[in-house]
Subunit: 260 residues, 2 copies
């Protein structure tokens, strides 16, 4: 009964776990949150690559059959440069595909961490799907700490969102990629600031579908598994449990502390 490995720099990747549980309720999941080194989104490509490599090695040592890199920064900066023995999915490609199919006016916004924006991974992926699209990328470094602080609504987050999203509003985008797994938690306020007519493309659902199709095609689904979710963290922080409950509804099991 080999689990699907999912890793993120912190807690945000659990939005992908939630989507996987809906698509594949029987599959077991081993989640690794590299909470000792988070955030990745402000760090350089070589550092993100080094940490991603260690995390994949750890998941491999625990016998996973496939891996989802549920961190946009690691997907953008590290995934294209890594070789891995198991089927592997990132979150950039599926999110870009979804947004490219969704836009009607060919004006697509991307909000993400500084490192993801600097890499232009979304821009490249979007242009592959839709060469005629104009892509407007904007880094929103305060969104992650706001989510971690639990300030999902109210005066502060609204002022931050208005400031960050103003260039996208002016650019009249009709679709915005939520290029960081924390951002889906800010969906209501982002939708309010951008307007109801703007599509918000969150990769979690579409990644889960890709994984489901991919595992079925490779004959790697285990219909007799028990759907257990185990979490491993590199730091025994306390905010993880609070946010995990908010995202998953429950905390599957006591997290295991690992030194990766």
């Amino acid at each position: 009964m080999k689990p699907i490995g999912v890793f993120d720099s912190g807690v945000g990747g659990l939005t992908v776990v939630a989507a996987l549980r809906q698509c594949l309720p029987k599959e077991s999941i081993l989640y690794l949150g590299d909470t000792a080194r988070l955030p990745y989104g402000t760090k350089s490509a070589s550092t993100v690559q080094r940490y991603t490599e260690r995390n994949l090695k750890f998941l491999s040592s625990r016998g996973v059959k496939a891996v989802v890199v549920a961190c946009n920064t690691a997907s953008a900066l590290a995934l294209p440069h890594l070789r891995f023995d198991h089927p592997t999915w990132g979150v950039v490609e599926p999110g870009a595909e979804w947004a490219a199919k969704m836009t009607r006016n060919d004006r697509i916004g991307v909000i993400a961490t500084e490192s993801t924006v600097r890499s232009d991974a979304y821009g490249e992926a979007l242009r592959r799907w839709r060469p005629e699209a104009a892509v407007f990328s904007h880094a929103c470094p305060l969104f992650v700490p706001l989510v971690e602080e639990g300030w999902l609504d109210g005066e502060v987050v609204e002022a931050v969102a208005r400031r960050y999203l103003e260039p996208l509003r002016r650019a009249e985008v009709d679709t915005v990629v939520l290029g960081c797994t924390h951002y889906p938690m800010l969906k209501p306020i982002l939708q309010r600031v951008l307007g109801d007519e703007v599509h918000l493309a969150d990769s979690a659902q579409i990644v889960a579908q890709k994984v489901s199709q991919g595992l079925a095609a490779a004959d790697l689904l285990e219909p007799t598994a028990e759907g257990l979710v185990q979490t491993c963290l590199t730091d025994a922080g306390e905010s993880f449990a609070r946010l995990a409950r908010q995202i998953l509804g429950d905390l599957p099991s006591e997290p295991e502390w690992v030194d990766v």
Copy 2:
């Protein structure tokens, strides 16, 4: 010509370097910013201890004669548990001493990272100097990302400051310890929100004085040194240079990338 080692999780410790350069303009300084693993302030004591130990080992391998742990979180969580062969100063004790001497109404506020507040290191230190003082501690996790984003004034930072500082205003403190080396950069807004009559205790100056006195007493000053400042970073990020220039007025030399 042995340098003074200074380390912080990131760029904030340069406020201590700036103060050291004023007190001891001839001394050479080797600065280590553990930018690959920042922030420390949201992480557990064991993780902060592990990283602090590695950083001290690195500075030792580079031949420093003394070390300043210019990170409040590392000073609070790791310093009391570490043994080190060179004279070592943290920032918690001096900051607490200064605030304890400054208060007139024995009501002292402490603002710091989550981990520093949880450790109660400032509370303990303040009560040693002034057992009759009432200490009101409050974690302000968004201040560091705001400084890193360069939002030092304006609507957002003012709203965040009002929300975080409200309990201290209600407690009628007359002195507030800035328990994180990033916070001095927010001094104008903090002073405005707290009121002009409230003292803001920033450890940088007082730590520099302690180091100056300690090195003189141990006969470790080198009056013929050239006052060079060398910086080492564990991640080659870009925001470091921008903030370093803001704090020091110049960037002493190209940072060296090190894997600690």
